[in-house]
Amino acid sequence: MDINELHAMAEQEQLRRKPHRIRYCTSAGCVSAGAIAVKDGLKAAVKDGKLDNEIEISSVGCMGLCARGPLVKVEPSEIFYENVTAEQAASVVSTCHGGATDAKVSDLEHPFWKLQQPIVLENRGRINPERIEEYVQVGGYQSLHKALTDMTPAEVVEEMKKSGLRGRGGGGYPTGLKWETVAKMPPGQKYVICNADEGDPGAFMDRSILESDPHRVLEGMAIAGYAVGATHGFVYTRAEYPLAIKHLQKAIKQAKKFEFLGSQIFGSGFDFKVDIRIGAGAFVCGEETALMHSIQGARGNPRPRPPYPAASGLWDCPTLINNVESFANVAPIVRNGGDWYASIGTEDSKGTKVFALTGKITNTGLIEVPMGTTLRQIVEEMGDGVPDGGVVKAVQTGGPSGGCVPADLLDTPVEYKSLLKLGAIMGSGGMIVMDEGTKMVEIARFYMEFCREETCGKCVPCRTGTVQLYELLDKISKGQGTAKDVEQLEKLSYMVKEMSLCGLGQTAPNPILSTLDYFKQEYLDLLQSPADLNGNKIEATANAPSA
């Protein structure tokens, strides 16, 4: 494969296309809302109308507005239809030739679409994830070609540094610096790992990216391999994501066939192969050292760092490990330059971030916004707020490692620094909206139950601290707690946070600490003898608080 062949491949795909295309979303959300019946309806209408030569019915990955599936898009008019039913399919087909349909047209001027800036999701609704030709047609693998033929590995690292991209898995470590560290390790066996073990409940960004645009992740990994001097990559993903695994397997096969993976890619001296490793149901394997143990066939127990994977990772070799979204940002950064990426977002946080917007919100879905967008814009404008006129109480980011931002702080911009200051974190991109009916102690208890069940059990504070924290929360939420219990809860939270071995334990108390910060009164109201924030008992009872 050389650049002419690459262009020819794109051209051929363009020529193959029929004048009209109708795309239907095949992600889990739309499928369970009836997308398959819609597809059958579309295909039948094309067949019945003998329109096979003019209209192509083709699947695409997630289009984002999951709340209103099944979604259908007509090209080239670029009209989106929401909540399409099988009965409406024929009339949607008829619109290609000026017909009318009663299917609901999506308002593309709505802030849900308008405030988005798709970079990671730029191919959303544009390509069939199972066909490499469509990825190539939209410019795919050209960044890899550019890196391999026009740039030295050091120049690629330099662009990544300039871009200001920070780890999108939640840690927020500067990606370019990580690449540089691995690149500077002495030559020899090195590895690239894509962390696709997306375990935060309420997050589905990585699943969506892998399902909808798997080649983009492979391209990013190959560029990373070239930059740091690695020839072997692994994607570690969850067994719970069968469609993502299927699409990824297919993509690897196709990329090998067209020599975007393999030896001497684009005639350069660079070899790169990618293998998939499938997890087996352990949240802790999202922690990088645990993930590497799991790839090596062991229990997913984390180990103390340093040494960091960049120095000693998989099989003790220098290892670059980044999250799916981070890798998905690589191709556009190489294509447009680091400065371009750095021009988006804020001083502290560059570029865009993908969020999975869920919970008590009207427009559930997947969005990509520039850093610096405020939570209020996301929740109230894009998400249309709580359904049925409800009121937002808090927004939870970062899953079990994150915190709850109360409604009066919704003007906070989405940035690593600002969120951290509030006791929340950017996290991997789960954003769960909670309404007035949500009990915050219950939420803290929910997350602690999660951590208690997902702790690997290696270190004492996390293994047994999470159990004691859960029991305290359970006691309080059942109205059996005392002021002393709340005090213990807070003390133990800090201990588990500071003493635990890995990120899971170190962040497990965050949901407690942030709800204690903003919603302490809810804890106090639940006590046997409720107290105000100063610890004064509200009801004058004869019993002294039990010690």
Partner: protein, 190 residues
């Protein structure tokens, strides 16, 4: 699960290899069953061979074993340990660490209730409680007739559909207890 408390005499004198062959001889009562078992072991051996019998491939091999046998019975774990040259306790430790590996046979059908945050705030816990009451089992258990297993999932990533369930690998969203119970009944009737 633990057999450590059993009196030594009942289990102790047998050598591991012997107990494995004992089990096989029990199975050979039914010849076609044995043949089926041989075919499955062959499939497992192929997987180990493809991974060059490397110890690092343990999780891949266990995935294959679970797919082939339905669950990880003791003989299978022994076979894997022998093939990959791993200590028995290491294999057991890994097999029990990951929740998708099961050391007990599951039901013919499965109903998974997503317990992720989005589903939780939309009432997944209540849904699960209703299903537990309906089926008379707790989450993680299988009905005594072996027909259906009720499982909880951390998050199946379809938060737009909350609360979501998966019956025999088919995802359904925005569930009420009544709908889910009906779907379970339909699945069982098939």
């Amino acid at each position: 699960m633990s057999v450590q408390n059993q009196p030594t005499a009942t289990v102790a004198p047998e050598k591991p290899q012997k107990s494995a062959s004992d089990n096989k001889s029990k199975k050979s009562d039914n010849k076609s069953k044995k043949k089926e078992s041989d075919r499955r072991y062959k499939a497992l051996d192929m997987t180990m061979k493809r991974h060059h019998y490397e110890a690092d491939a343990l999780i891949e091999v266990l995935h294959k074993a679970q797919d082939t046998f339905g669950y990880l019975e003791e003989d299978v774990l022994r076979h894997v340990a022998k093939g990959l040259k791993l200590p028995l306790s290491r294999v057991y430790g890994v097999a029990t660490f990951y929740h998708l590996f099961s050391l007990k046979p599951g039901g013919e059908h499965t109903c998974v209730v997503c317990l992720g945050t989005a589903c939780h705030v939309k009432g997944a816990s209540e849904l699960l409680a209703d299903l537990e009451a309906e089926l008379g089992i707790k989450v993680g258990e299988t009905t005594s007739d072996g027909k259906i297993s009720l499982l909880g999932a951390r998050c199946i990533g379809t938060c737009g559909l909350a609360p979501a369930i998966v019956i025999d690998e088919v995802v359904s969203g925005k569930q009420t207890s009544e709908e889910t119970i009906k779907q379970i009944k339909d699945a069982l009737a098939q």
